[in-house]
Symmetry: D2
């Protein structure tokens, strides 16, 4: 029985992840993501209403047209976690496959939202949930296991396939964080056990591999400590206060809420995506917001909340979207004077997010920060830790799993290559047992 | 009789240059420029219709309100050359002064255009022209001399004031280029002569001083050689061909025309500012366009020309605006599919301009280049030399003039400081005879 | 009574700090440091045996020859903390002044060591100690106060002069760290009190002001958390383990010891400067080393300890000098195979120090790391936080002290200028109440 | 008959190039270079006296031990040009093969020098010369052709193998320079002809591919123009004058001589490698030095020449080795005061070479420049153009040759990958017809 790993998306870019694994006649698909950067290149891209083929041509979603030549039956579409570069294309692509969509409960709820928002296609695939630590039989030969992982969104897992030819581990995206409050640490014990049983192939993210600063990615404990030190002052000043972070980073949102709840300020979570990610997290009992807090998602509700805050700015903490300065998001609109809340001299703005590297983000953030400063705000911009494994984390990971073959993913060629060089330091060899694939290429392992 | 140099604009930024020199009771103003970057920070800035005070508040034009406290009479407003960061505020500020506007003929024509376009103010100051090498008495005590300089626009000069207390040299902006075709080399002989006579103060640009790569700024001969090598191939391919450069860089435009005229291609100069700068240059006999060339400025004329070129792309060379990727300029609009000319596989695009350092330009250029490439264009992006003096040119300049005092200008504090450190290597001392001013500060020299 | 601040060293470089403050006829000197980088430029520089004037000419120590023209009497030489760029020139310069040397007990002990090592001059100035929080009358008019600060060495203080004309604060070097274990937090209460009383002038470091990454410098709690996460794995592997950090960073050394003491490994602190700084710290009760630890300083003792460790590498943790890769320090010598301890495959090396920015350090570190890796070591290089205040810490500091005048120090012109721009954001103005001085320039405040 | 390309050295680094091509039973080897950087990692590396296996272990020379498993007979060892990273290992490796060494006359003379200097091995392989444009039968099936190329050393060629399975082109190292004086332009006509005949495989350098600044590498005409502008001033000042450049860059040396010969200065070419490369070039009629010039290579002769120059510095132009600041080379030794020629205030130093990117070079250059400046020299450091093809040159090259397969070489993985991505823009696909090899891997093409 041969095993084949088919690179569909995310092997030439950071984004639009999708990989298929064929074991004998059974095919399992991992992730169906979008490539957010590509949207801005064509100004008229309206994702919700566009057809898959147009989006494929523009490089926005994975090009899965090659799947029609794959001789096999798709038994499951498995999602590692709920970020858009992993689930964002589900409504465009899933309906072509007669197979269930499988994710942890939080991921599954986000997939459901994605499908509900779709305007072009009807997606009727059943959605199944599997808890971290759980197993599910996908076919006669294949059993799926979700091994607990950590990332920058709750309920991220390593999906693992147990096959007659060995174990296949899909490790997009993860970090090794032993200090999150919302999520337990990664299940190192199980990873080592899998390593002893025999891992045939590891498909693994390479997003952070070139970052020479963060050899082992800092834990969320670091982010908590930084935010505690940064927020203490502003919380007790009699001025306005805004924190912006990733809506989906529920761990971080929890941290911000925990620090602020001891103060007298009422916490307002504002913005559509803030409502989406935090609302679901709260309803599932993952996020525990304090009493003095509310979430507002609709433009109307947001405006009303901002009006309230404008007049009593020292009484509120605004937690908003817009950390990249994207012109339509909330914080940039506040900075541009387009909301009822006007920045005044002395207001404090904490940006708990990096600039996602891309010239447009750099320009948007620059303009937003200049506007905020011009209105008199004080900006604290360095309150973040990454959600992706660093170089030395990856080394540890390889040592735990001892895979026969490694396929780096979720990166451009320079990232996949850098991962390959790390693997060579651990005794592997590019071209022999480390395989660098381009989108639409496949690697066959003969069992 | 005391001499006072008053920093009005351009001492905390690259842009909106304006300096006043007071000699006894007479005041001479140098330049009235705008700060282009600042316009984009406030989205609703409509320069032509806005009042000076609003533009001052937004940092777009120099804040000359301090001039009302200067006890003296303005005898002349002198323009060094025709770039917008030196003349762009003339229509907003000049009418407040009862004094003539003085420039070389090319500069004067551009000032006239600027005034004609103004919608808010009436500007009735007389415009006087002075040729490079010429002199003009501005008051009993002060004579203005224009010493030939070189820059990236024709007829740039060093305006020099001969005063009873010594000579004052205003050196914004210049390079030492001995190989331009449109402009003669700088008048080194006269500069050295001034040095021997005794220069009291040198007010000097510092724009390029931090560039450690270009110790002596390369001459336009280098740009010619590079463009010759780059253009040769594309000129004779049967595909579309576009060159974009600064409209005001008439020397460069001449070079492009000279190289292309030997080919069979008809040259189309396209875009409003291309028409403005090149049209005047041609009418004044500065720019000599070949027979097989035309300039189109109005949107309608440009569109018609593009339609013609679309069908016979191998027969035309388009010379366009838009090298920074500014969304409303021509090349970015072509890249975005918004004109009758569609980029096709194999078309060649030569960008004869650097990215002017600024996150918005970086983002715009990035998006434009990605779109051009996505349509199949081949881009050549490294065909430029700077128009500003390099570190070692400045050293030579100091040695020629041997000024008693130096006031670096046209830069942020880090540039003015870097100039100061260079001057210290030449025996000066910051705080003693090198004076780093902030906007609105003045330096007095007691004669 | 006029007050004069005289810049002697550290106003054109990071290093060789020295400032004099003249109040009426009394002069107080702050710090007498060396400039370590300058030593390597002249290969034959032997500090211990060279004369002050030679060292001044080479830029290694501050040029205090201008002090002979200062009309006043030196009443005290005050040291802010024990780093070499603040005390390293004491043995070369102090003997010229008839005044006591004043520091906290830890600083005083280091000064004593410095004087003991001198081969050229006899230094007989009395050494006086003053505890953080203490006061000492220096003359009729001047009282010195040591306000508790934090930095990367124990017992760093803000020396404060109470004068008839107002308070003068000397703030080199500091960070705001509320989470050190060896040192209490800065005395914010007292700083604000001084601000209310009226600070005439603040002399303040600018070393980190250009670092746009660290807006508020991370606390040592962050370093502890990082080191805990990094060291946990290596401590329990059966391989060699080395940590290198600044010998004088007693807080960090304490952290390393605290983490390691729970393991079975014996801790060996190795290297001459490790013995100097940690030995004194231990004898003064500042550093509390666990039982299973020893310090070895002499080459012989170090070698013996390394021999022991070579054979039972899994039983020891080596804490060494050499984090910059300086060829004669211990870790680079180990890396180069010149000690009895040979790096073996699997050994772990943790570098708890940044590359101090300088091309020589970059080259040395690069070579050291390549050698360590070539021998099979695994390197963890990102376990550090800075000891210098960040941009936003400085903003807080200015708001606490509200000084009438600010004089940035301990930086090159670009750093002093960047500090000046920060102060301008807080309402100050360079040239008016922010004074950028060059070495040997003075600023007079008329009381 | 199958064709196999075997990567021996230079596929994981810039340096120690060596590639074997097996056609049926015949093997042709291209280049035997050293890796200069690796020497400094082990301080005790004495190349001339060390055994191949030690040098292989240290990564200094290619690991050709795999050749014993290659089932075939070596018919020729072909050298593309005379740089050390292409010929430097000849004396260590060639004796193991019973095959002639083949190069152009200039390359052959340099190989002979290399062999003469060897202390460990006897190398008796016959040396054969082949002129650019010439052909030589290497076996029944294989004919070698040397196609004229340009690089930064004279007589660089593209060695081409004509085989029954198609043409194989070896393109290390080259640029497309139409304006050299010492060398004719590349033979574009022949390259296109080869493309039409059918190129099976292109083995091609990737050294400059990541340089986004130089899309088409500037020609030596640019370097001439720059040097003319830079040297004019210093030549006629009454001060010392030094130019340093690559000894092997005979074209550049010729340029320097041509510019200087019109002045009154006598030109002294100084340094051992200057004598080696220029001496041979002169004896072969490639370099034409003016009458008022001499070459001195031995330390004694150099010292004597320097003594002469010391006393009449305005009468000489010194052209020296040492542009990287390597401590033992001439210019760094002058800078460090270790020669009879002492830098005086006003002396001019022109560095016509880039910093070869590597932390040690950066540190050495930094120290050398600081020393030169400290002694009063004025440095001009930006007088160079690269000798390696840029990104757009490579695109042109691919379009000329239209090879079936491409194997990028002479780079680390990131460079080979970047080349691969360029090839993909031209319709190739990594993994299909672009092959990224690691040292010791092979690619087979079945004819």
């Amino acid at each position: 029985m041969s095993v084949e790993v088919i690179a569909i998306g995310g092997y030439e870019e950071v984004g639009r992840n999708m990989t298929a694994v064929k074991v004998g006649e059974d095919v399992i698909i991992f992730d169906m993501g979008i490539h957010l950067d590509r949207i801005s290149i064509h100004e008229d891209t309206d994702i919700d209403r566009m057809h898959s083929l147009d989006l494929i041509e523009r490089g926005v979603i994975p090009d899965d047209t090659l799947m029609k030549d794959v001789d096999g039956k798709v038994k499951g579409i498995v999602f590692s976690h709920g970020h858009l570069d992993h689930i964002g294309a589900v409504a465009k692509l899933a309906h072509r496959y007669d197979a269930p969509l499988i994710g942890t409960p939080y991921t599954a709820a986000l997939i459901q939202k994605q499908i509900n928002g779709e305007r072009k296609f009807k997606v009727n695939n059943p959605i199944k949930t599997l808890n971290p630590g759980g197993k599910m039989k996908l076919s006669e030969d294949i059993t799926l296991e979700f091994v607990q992982s950590t990332h920058s969104i709750p309920q991220a897992v390593f999906p693992v396939l147990h096959t007659p030819e060995g174990i296949i581990v899909y490790a997009l995206d993860f970090k090794f964080d032993n200090h999150q409050k919302v999520s337990p640490p990664p299940d190192y014990r199980r990873l080592k056990e899998l390593g002893r049983k025999g891992v045939l192939a590891l498909i693994v993210e390479s997003t952070n591999i070139k970052d020479t600063n963060e050899v082992k990615t800092y834990s969320e404990r670091i982010a908590r400590n930084i935010l505690e030190d940064l927020m203490r002052g502003p919380l007790y000043e009699k001025t306005g206060m805004i924190v912006t972070t990733f809506s989906s980073h529920v761990e971080r949102v929890q941290t911000i809420a925990d620090i602020a709840k001891k103060s007298h300020r009422e916490i307002l979570f504002l913005g559509r995506s803030m409502e989406r990610f935090c609302g679901i997290a709260e309803s599932q009992g993952i996020l525990k917001l304090p009493k003095n807090s509310s979430i507002y998602g609709s433009p109307k509700a947001v405006n009303k909340a901002l009006m309230k805050a404008e007049d009593n700015r020292e009484k509120y903490l605004l937690v908003t979207t817009g950390h990249q300065g994207e012109p339509d998001a909330l914080l940039p609109r506040i900075a541009n004077g387009k909301t009822p809340f006007n920045i005044k001299r002395g207001d404090n703005v904490i940006i708990s997010a990096p600039i996602i590297p891309n010239p447009t983000n750099a320009a948007n953030r620059h303009i937003m920060e200049r506007r905020l400063k011009a209105s008199g705000a004080r900006i604290y911009a360095n309150a973040h830790v990454s959600g992706h494994a660093g170089r030395e984390d990856h080394r540890d990971f390889i040592r735990m799993l001892k895979p026969q073959h490694i396929i780096p993913a979720h990166g451009d060629l320079s990232m996949l290559s850098a991962y390959g060089e790390l693997a060579e330091e651990e005794g592997y060899r590019i071209g022999n047992n480390v395989h660098i694939l381009r989108n639409a290429q496949a690697q066959v392992f003969n069992g």
